[in-house]
Amino acid sequence: MTPFAREGDVIVATFEPAETEILVQLADDVQQLLADAAEAEPDSTRSRAIDRLLPAAYGDGGDDDAEFRRFTSEGLVERKIGNAQSVIDTLQGAKVAATPVRLNAAAVQAWLRCLTDIRLSIAAGLGIDGDDDESSLAGSDRYLFDVYRWLAFVQESLLDALEADFS
């Protein structure tokens, strides 16, 4: 990809077709994960990912946590699925090689949040729980780990492009 850069009202980057395909797939995966959240097996990778996307607000494992989740999870899930859809939609036009992805302010917010949700769910699958876990990953997870790191690069590039808006 070419890094994100501001062009007037929008922020623009160009992705390789293979990169576009991966991003669409990962955004779709997050949508599926959230849509089927209720069916995740306890202690499974999926349930760990969901716990990280919808963390306990009180952290005491009691009624307050359950009640907070009951009142907020539907809206949070809906917004997260909507963010992923925005990523998928903005990438539709970029499937032809070298067609830039153009993000308006709303799409930027959706991308920032969705990239985070994707990375959180991948990290849950890879078992990245501590600051030092990244260095100890086994070879079989290498591809996913490379994707995970590339997503950090994409997000960092988007944040860099936004930096000008603050000054």
Binding site: F68, T72, D131, L159
Partner: protein, 98 residues
Amino acid sequence: MAQTLDAIDVDAELNERLSLGSPWITLVWNDPVNLMSYVSYVFRSYFGFSKAEAERRMLQVHTEGRAVVASGTREEMERHVEAMHGFGLWATLQRVDA
């Protein structure tokens, strides 16, 4: 609750708010996934912190494991926590007990 206020770096502004009767706080916790630049961005764009203040609290999350980002009523803190979860940050709220 094991986490007492004493254990948390409370700044002057927060002290003042607590004395005015804001018994709940929002905490953001360290995680190995979120980029430092993103956490800082969220603190600036959502809470309206200056760049320096956002960086200070982000670094506090990173080095001390957590930082207080807001104080106020329980309802306000629940709203902040929900917003942080929307951003993908790991946030909790708790009552400030002596």
